[in-house]
Symmetry: C2
């Protein structure tokens, strides 16, 4: 029988896993041609949103003290710059493989955490600030990044014809 | 100093509040004319998504044992039937006012709950099943409905020109 804090953590992890699963299923269902379509006229392409999600999830590794980013170059391409910027980008096949890789590494690290680990500070907050703002912990990163994935999943679903 | 279960509950409530705030800000920024636009060609209108979110949030009242739905008629119009179904619907002004009303009632009830309350079963699961599946609790409803709001918020953002 899980205690309340274990149950709450498990809910948040389950919610993360369910969104990764849904996004993976969606990406897998889209051909390379279909994923290059834009979610709406003059809006992001599926390719950009795939790169954006990989970049944000890659950043979670360092934010949650799980290790270094695997593909730090993606931040410039898919977070700091908009879709359509004249930059050299990885191929769709590479982005698909990064998606699997980054989420697998995250998943392994997520499964290693104890309940106490989740309530430790993330890497972007100082010890001093964390003492005053204990909600700036690792489980909050997982929660907010799940919401972020849900937000873009709603957009990516528009690629399904 | 909050304990871990209180902190986890607070994170989930904060995440809910932040999405209600973002969605409200977005709806308020859209004129009645703009909200009738579709998020993409042949996709849902902003009006339908507003109605859909009100209907789902209204359903949370009964799911979380907070009371009866305020507008049970919305379920047929905005959950069971798609956009464009030939049904008589509330005006945009009415939907806007329902949005405020339903979220205010929810908010008041949310603020009344103790930590233990959040770990109690929601109304759509039996006592017997809940004994085996303790994650089917009220805080899980709040978490999954936040994700649901995030999903549609990603789509509604496309109405901003």
């Amino acid at each position: 029988m899980k205690n309340q804090q274990e149950l709450a953590i498990q809910l948040i992890i389950d919610s993360w896993n369910s969104h990764i699963k849904r996004a993976t299923k969606l990406f897998d269902s889209l051909s390379d041609e279909a994923i290059q379509n834009h979610i709406a006229p003059n809006r992001n392409s599926g390719t950009y949103l795939l790169g954006h999600l990989v970049a944000v999830h890659d950043g979670m590794l360092s934010l949650m003290n799980f290790g270094d980013k695997l593909h730090p170059e993606l931040e410039q391409l898919f977070i700091r710059n908009p879709d359509g910027a004249a930059l050299e980008k990885p191929s769709i096949a590479q982005l698909r493989s990064y998606w699997t890789e980054v989420n697998n590494v995250l998943n392994n690290k997520i499964n290693e955490q104890t309940t106490d680990d989740w309530f430790k500070k993330h890497s972007a907050v100082s010890e001093e600030d964390f003492a005053k703002e204990p909600h700036r912990n690792k489980i909050n990163i997982l929660l907010t990044r799940t919401n972020h994935a849900a937000y873009h999943l709603g957009q990516l679903a528009l690629l399904n014809k």
